[in-house]
Amino acid sequence: MNSRQLHTFFLMLISIFLLVIQSSTFAQVDTFEFENNEQQSRFRQLSDELRCPMCQNTNLSGSTGGVAEDLRREIHRMILEGMSNEEIEQFMFERYGDFIFYRPRLRAETVLLWFGPIIFLILGGFVAYGIFRRANLIAKTAVVLNDEQEAKLNELVGK
């Protein structure tokens, strides 16, 4: 590789790197105005943590979908009206259900979702414990040869 090729190669590498960076920080830019920074950071937090109902695997802040745009506008309105995060989340829940949350609320319908992994971990723990205990038991009761038997064994295998 001559120096010119090397040069092009590095340029390509840098552009790919920049592309990756660009897409990972991608978010919709709205021109909402807030009265203070606290309101603005609450807006960012809420639109990061609420899921766009139309595009499914994007949060509200990263979605170009029409309904996501509308919901961001609603969040902005409710923050300016002085509603708390809980009230805003309740507003969303009443209209779009658990789906809107990346962190669903703890309810009868979502118990398995929250505690399923722990239940499986405990079950797995019991199984692992059983296996280890049995292995231990086998090791303890393993037959130990006395010197005479040992000699005979050696003779048999031709040592």
Binding site: G65, V67, R73, E74, R95
Partner: protein
């Protein structure tokens, strides 16, 4: 006892596998509506043709509430079904012109035909949010008391009408008798 110890985990994983297998084929794109069995949200909006309407102007019998827009291609696909339903007087259809511009909506209706008793103009999608709409087309079945009883997301064609809506309507009628 020993056999049970061997088969219990096998059975457990077969059952778990079955549940997860089924999960692969669940339709995760259709969200359940939160408004089933709830009163239709309050509204006071203009229609596409310019009248003011509120909840008091709802049909007062079982009707369909169809969310549509002139930009929405699937709406064009389901349009003939609504035309037939309204021409044959089978059920009133109220439209919600969702996130659309008035002149485009008017054009669309005059080009393709207007099956709607009236179309509520929801230009900024605020009423849509109250209904839990996440994209056109969606169709709600509302009873004579103005209570939402069923929601279908995406195209409502003749097959969906026969298989989903007719039984649901029959149930509502049986209930009110």
């Amino acid at each position: 006892m020993k056999r049970l110890k061997f088969f219990a985990p096998v059975l457990f994983f077969v059952a778990l596998g079955g549940i997860l297998w089924r999960g692969l084929y669940l339709d995760s794109r259709t969200l359940p509506s939160m408004l089933i069995d709830k009163q239709m949200p309050e509204f006071a909006l203009g229609t596409v043709s310019g009248e003011e309407v509120t909840n008091k102007d709802l049909p007062g019998q079982i009707f369909l509430l169809n969310v549509w827009g002139s930009y929405c291609l699937p709406c064009l696909v389901e349009h003939p079904t609504f035309m037939r339903l309204s021409e044959e007087g089978e059920i009133p259809v109220v439209g919600i012109n969702y996130k659309d511009r008035n002149e485009l909506a008017k054009d669309w209706l005059s080009t393709n035909g207007n099956p709607f008793t009236y179309s509520i103009q929801d230009e900024d999608g605020r009423f849509g949010i109250d209904l839990g709409v996440y994209g056109a087309p969606e169709t709600y079945l509302v009873d004579s008391e103005g209570v939402i009883r069923y929601r279908h997301v995406s195209v409502l064609d003749e097959a969906v009408w026969q298989q989903e809506f007719l039984p649901a309507i029959a149930e509502l009628r049986a209930e009110s008798e």
